[in-house]
Amino acid sequence: MDVEVKGIVKSFGELLVLDHISFNVRSGEFVAVCGPTGCGKTTLMKIIAGLLKPDSGEVLLAGEPVDYRRHNIGFVFQEPSYLPWRTVWGNVKFGLEAKVSSLGWKLTREEVDKRVKWAIELVGLEGFESYYPHQISGGMKQKVALAQALATDPHLLLMDEPFGALDIQTRYYMENELLRVWSKLRKTVIFVTHYIEEAVYLADRVIVLSSLPAKVKAEVDVSLPRPRDVTSSRFVEIRREITELIRWW
């Protein structure tokens, strides 16, 4: 689903956070949004999802103003969002339950179960269906969040620093898992991170935000074939380019 972010302005009281943010995302594209801590990335993602209203500007999904009731959006939150009272299975099912009970999706119980099973297998969590969140690792919790978002087959997947809390090794592993899933499904993804390397490793395009109040400082195309080699000269060059961009602000 095409995403158009048009002139978004947002302040909290006196504090101007987002200052005319505009960019587009094509259907099926993987875009990373990169910016310093506290620059308003989460705020921007919540506005794109329709969870927050901008002061001015608008977000269009497939040409229409965003509405999470009409558009099917998957959101992986920066903070842990798993429901501790539900098992892995129950967590993955949660989004589908909302769609069925509140949006009138016509799905039989078997169809719901089939989708949950599909999503759990997709992220490689089979065998852990009956575990509670406190019984699984941090990386697996993020897989639960991803499976939960994917179970509803969203047209747009918003991921807000999903791997920020993981150790480096687990993060690399999860990045590759995400790419594996994405290459299968080709969803439109907007992925927030403040690790430049992560952005360059994952995305087709990197949108670089400045520090507060955030403006779009640059859009950098990463036209490298996947899987990417983080030590290749081209990769290092793009990484340096973005680092310089951020540094000179």
């Binding site: 999802a49 501790p84 989004g95 909302a98 509140s102």
Partner: protein, 257 residues
């Protein structure tokens, strides 16, 4: 502590307590301060033969339980919805604080005269026990709404969940542990109100009535026997509740330990 060690330690503590009690009776030497053995004898007599009017101890316990549970259920039926409504809609609480908060500190016994004037029969018991049980249930429910995580609400919203979905699938599961803890405390407080409630019930059965009846006869062993039974039944109800909580909130293991 391992269960076996804990049982052994408690048995020893209980024995020491009984011995200490017995020792004090040797010092006090009052005919109205019974020895542990006198209480045990009174207990056996009450359990096997019943009291002076022939009501058995089991009947006293059963009748009191019925009254307390009625009042307790009434407290849940009012405290949980009201706490939920006021927790979700804070202004309702903020603007009625001046009524709710003072009422909370009036001891149930102080309500006895009014209860006598206004109520008859079974409703007197229910009312007094409700007074004791209501506030723990209500206050815990009210306060528990803060425990609902904003991320969970946003998660439900972004999937399209409407208000009733969020209430049923996010709010209620989030607050359940707190509400149940409030219910456990409420049941305990309600149970403690049993003597006060049975003071005005005007019937001769119930653990409170038993105590009052024997107090008038100056037969202290039976009075203490009633006290001990109230304590033990309270303990059992509490343990039962705790076991249910542990079962229901398996997912909380990590927090509770």
């Amino acid at each position: 502590m391992k269960p076996l060690r804990s049982i052994a330690a408690n048995a020893v503590a209980l024995l020491l307590f009984t011995l200490a009690w017995h020792a004090t009776t040797l010092v006090v030497r009052s005919p109205f301060y019974p020895k542990p053995l006198d209480v045990l004898k009174a207990f056996c007599k009450l359990a096997l033969e019943g009291d002076i009017e022939g009501y058995s101890l089991g009947l006293h316990i059963g009748v009191s339980l019925l009254r307390v549970i009625s009042g307790f259920l009434f407290a849940c039926a009012t405290g949980i919805p009201l706490g939920l409504a006021m927790g979700l809609y804070r202004p309702a609480y903020e603007s009625t604080r001046s009524i709710i908060e003072p009422v909370r500190f009036i001891p149930p016994i102080a309500w006895i005269p009014l209860a006598i004037v206004l109520l008859r029969g079974f409703s007197r018991y229910v009312f007094l026990i409700w007074l004791g049980a209501f506030f723990p249930v209500f206050i815990n429910t009210l306060a528990s709404i803060h425990r609902v995580s904003q991320v969970h609400v946003e998660l439900a919203k972004v999937f399209g969940g409407d208000r009733s979905f969020i209430l049923a699938k996010v709010v209620i599961p989030s607050i359940m542990p707190e509400v149940l803890a409030g219910m456990r405390i409420g049941l305990g407080v309600g149970w403690m109100c049993i003597v006060a409630a049975e003071m005005i019930g005007g019937e001769m059965v119930g653990l409170g009535s038993l105590i009052l009846k024997y107090a008038e006869l100056l037969r202290v062993p039976e009075v203490i026997c009633g006290m001990v039974v109230i304590g033990v039944v309270g303990l059992l109800m509490n343990e039962l509740f705790l076991a249910a909580e542990r079962r229901l909130f398996k997912w909380r293991r990590e927090v509770v330990v």
